[in-house]
Amino acid sequence: MATDTATTVHDDGHEHAPSFIDRWFFGTNHKDIGTLYLLFSLAMFLIGGAMAMIIRAELFMPGMQIVNPEFFNQMTTMHALVMIFGAVMPAFVGLANWMLPLMIGAPDMALPRLNNLSFWILPFAFLIMLSTLFMEGGGPAGGWTLYPPLSLQQGNSMAFVIFAIHMMGLSSIMGAINIIATVLNMRAPGMDLLKMPIFPWTWLITAFLLIGVMPVLAGAITMLLTDKFFLTSFFNAAGGGDPVMYQHIFWFFGHPEVYIMILPAFGVVSEIIPTFSRKPLFGYQAMVYATASIAFLSFIVWAHHMFTVGMPLGGELFFMYATMLIAVPTGVKVFNWVSTMWQGSLTFETPMLFAIGFVVMFTIGGFSGLMLAIVPADYQYHDTYFVVAHFHYVLVTGSVFALMAGAYYWLPKWTGYMYNETLGKWHFWLSTIFVNLLFFPQHFLGLAGMPRRIPDYNIAFSDFNMISSIGGFGFGLAQLLFVYVVWSCARGRSGIKVGDRVWEGARGLEWTVPSPAPHHTFTTPPKFDDRDLAHGDVSH
């Protein structure tokens, strides 16, 4: 049948007036599932943030003030697990759900029911994990990396945490499979891979990383489980195993995992900067190849997390140089963002502010990462607050700032109303000032020798800790402003309705559908001009 008028087959009798349960619990609609993901991750961001507030309150002054050390350790462990698996990863999957089909001109994700399963596993997984806090012996307290033998010595929580992580992994793998199938199979006719917007590109590569490493994490924690409950000796030297082996397997997952959390952030920022610079993305293809290079390199650098465990010298050298190589494609990206802005006609709406904040502060995190990559220097920095400062710069001012940028950028598309720009700008400036107050002094603390994951510290570290805690409280409170902005935008409080193309300089198929995006979009494959794509005409 050679017809141009294709239509969507909806195999249902009540798609046009779905009941509440049908829509939010049994749904297959990518926008609804995306909304669920985003709301879930926001809830987890607040829970994980509350844990961070407890940590910073305890560290406000030297000495033990508020919580006992055991609970403090549970907080650091849970804060990490909640933020990584509950806040950042689901938030990016939520953005992918909402935006990927809109950006590539597809009616929905490729496997919509699997999509719903991916989401619904998560609340149950976190129910299991968070419930351990109320069990006898409390939650996991050995750090989110669950290193043996320490993690094997904790109480009843271990089995629950391991199974919860298994569920999160399952959810991620299914989500990743769905994204790959969507990007490779559902693109509108004429949208070649190298014409595709950059956010789907970064997510495609991220999805490969997820499928490559989440099963390895599952294997690692399964071995922990059998070591604890079924007498195996994987991580027990007396039986011929090696605790360091766990670290190798864990970080084979763990290092790509950090790119899983940052590559989609690169994608979001690469969408936003061209819009508010009113220029196509500089070096589109270089961006794609740089993303792919970073993804490849992420598989061969894992042992830089464990320079001090006593690896052979050859291993340390290899992992040092491989790690430093990552700076090359990352540098390509940073320079391309800057070049995109160069001579553009810039405006500084909230998404752009967050995106620029991302570029500047993520680069700071990147540079401290480069410092940590140097083996002899790492011997000094390892397990100090310098590491904490480093990964919070890339994760908070990196990933989270990109998420905020994305949320402000697409909120009008989701709700049909403009958010409150004044409050958005307040949110940005308060976040930026306080987050630097929070994490920058931690560099100094680390260099001066303050170890991470301790509830008490030498009195010499008092001043910087107090500054850091004040920054933490401020940053935490500023996020409540974000919650209010999102709520008021969803309720249409601003009263400013937006058109299809919310931002003057925005390009891409998502801006050709109405705002708010109707429940079903692109039920027929869209026709488009290459110049409408996010990075402009790729032919020149």
Partner: protein, 292 residues
């Protein structure tokens, strides 16, 4: 799918379904129940685990029944078919990476950690001060001989036989596939049945070997790093063969019902891919766990 594929220009979006949520609840009950069991809480753990398993089985039954009926009604087009293929391919890839973690543990122990404990390379001081007198060798249950003395299972007995069985099952499955493409349903049922039988015999021998290992050889999960890697690798493989066999049985009944046509039988192909994957994992396992 009995009908010809609809126009690929038509998008297909499936209707809402309760099965994903049911599956999540089942997974929650099963795993939370299992965690309770491990901590010794049988009163809560037992009912939760079994309820969870039951819910998951019901979920698989209902979900697949739903998809099969939609497929038979001809609702799916080539694009949906391709999405399903991508789903299966990348699911199998994730399984490969899961096995890779355990093979990684095996290689790490054999190539690095055991020699280090024996004082080779960087491990000289470790050996002198902590594990004095331990000589690296494989297989080993470590310097403290965790789990006590144990015997080994030779590669050229049952394991070789099992290798032959699985290789043969790959051949019979391929013959069945060719028969399906030629439209000879009786042949399909015979050769697919043979594949199932070979899988079942494999599983029988595998269980026989486990009983032998535990009862006669004192080779258990607790036999140091050798026992750990041996049983975790062969055990997870066995679980996958069991799953694969169940999938083959389902496909056999679907063939009997005439769900598959000459050129449209993705369900069959997906199971065949899975079976070959299990086959290949066994070959690697045979070489590195039994032979070398």
């Amino acid at each position: 799918m009995a009908n010809p594929a609809p126009d690929p220009g038509i998008y297909y979006v499936p209707h809402s379904s309760k099965w994903p949520l049911v599956g999540s609840i089942g997974l929650f009950l099963m795993l939370a129940g299992f965690a309770n069991l491990m901590n010794g809480n049988k009163t809560l753990g037992m009912p939760m685990t079994f309820a969870g398993i039951a819910v998951i089985l019901v979920m698989f039954w209902g979900w697949f029944r739903n998809v099969i009926s939609e497929s038979v009604r001809g609702l799916y087009n080539r694009q949906v078919d391709f999405s399903f293929r991508m789903g299966m391919i990348w699911f199998i890839f994730s399984e490969i990476m899961f096995f890779a973690a355990f093979f990684g543990a095996l290689f790490y122990a054999r190539v690095l950690s055991v020699p280090w404990l024996g004082g080779i390379g960087d491990g000289e001081l470790t050996n002198i001060y902590i594990w004095s007198g331990f000589e690296a060798a494989w297989p080993t249950s470590g310097p403290e001989q965790v789990g006590g003395e144990y015997g080994l299972i030779g590669a050229w007995g049952i394991p070789l036989l099992n290798t032959m069985l699985l290789l043969a099952s790959g051949v019979t499955l391929t013959i069945a596939h060719h028969a399906l493409k030629a439209g000879q349903r009786t042949q399909v049922l015979i050769w697919l049945g043979a594949t199932i039988a070979l899988g079942a015999i494999f599983l029988y021998f595998q269980m026989y070997e486990y009983v032998h290992a535990y009862r006669d050889l004192n080779l258990t999960l607790g036999s140091g790093v050798y026992g750990s890697t041996f049983f975790m690798l062969t055990g997870f493989h066995g679980v996958h063969v069991t799953l694969g066999t169940i999938m083959l049985i389902v496909i056999w009944f679907r063939c009997l019902k005439g769900h598959f046509s000459k050129d449209d039988h993705f369900g069959f192909e997906a199971v065949a891919w899975y079976w070959h994957f299990v086959d290949v994992v066994w070959l690697i396992l045979f070489i590195f766990v039994y032979v070398l």
